[in-house]
């Protein structure tokens, strides 16, 4: 999972990030919880880092279940 490029999924709240974590864990999808990178936001928040090729699969898994604020390349 440490190979290649990454995207981060941003949420409007820590609770949403936690919910997303639960959903992805349940489905066995690869991800990592990290702090929101400084260059994206100065807020103290967490986000989900994913391997870029997994983006579609993970976005599909979350759509409709948790509100995603944005997805950006890392």
């Amino acid at each position: 999972m440490n190979q290649g490029t990454f995207h981060v999924i941003l949420f409007d709240s820590v609770s949403s990030a936690l919910l997303a974590e639960k959903i992805l864990k349940k489905q066995g999808l690869p991800f990592k919880i990290i702090p929101v990178p400084r260059h994206i936001s100065s807020d103290c928040g967490v986000c989900i880092r994913i391997s870029s090729p997994e983006r579609d699969r993970i976005e599909t898994a979350l759509t409709g279940k948790v509100e995603i604020q944005g997805i950006c390349p890392l």
Partner: protein, 193 residues
Amino acid sequence: MTREIDARGLACPQPVLLTKKALEDHSEIVVIVDNETAQENVKRMAQSQGCEVTIERRDGDINLLISKGCSCEIPDTEVTTQGTLVIVIGSDTMGRGDDGLGTVLMKSFIHTLLETSPQADSLIFFNTGVKLTIQGSEILEDLRTLSERGVKILVCGTCLDFFEMKDRLAAGIISNMYDITETMTGAGRLVQI
């Protein structure tokens, strides 16, 4: 004199280790890697040592020009006079209150350690903190990376024994109260989580 290191095709953490070794004897080196993970790892390590890093891409390969620069000596001495940096983790969550939140914060904290300079010299895990070092822990990969970069990870043996997890240790080394106490009392800076 510029020393060239060809780290193409080498698995992690080889490129980082080779770079580290070369920096001991040379003030300017060129490291050639063939993937971005290696590039980032080498870059981060060099920067944590106070070096300047310039990246050039050539025919699919990545050249990292690393130079020690004159500023390198200053942070080095500063760190030496301040002694070792020890981080003490006595719980599997970060902070008290909500465990769900504390778990996320801990993962986030350990991840951030990978990107923070200066690097810690030692991490000490005790009480429920030892649960972070056993099989199935979500921060294992990060702990192994820290370990590969030279961070000493001490895990309280009494605690592993108490939770009946001794045979499931997956990162760090089993330690005793003597080593743990000496590491803590001998620290220049001690960060308690």
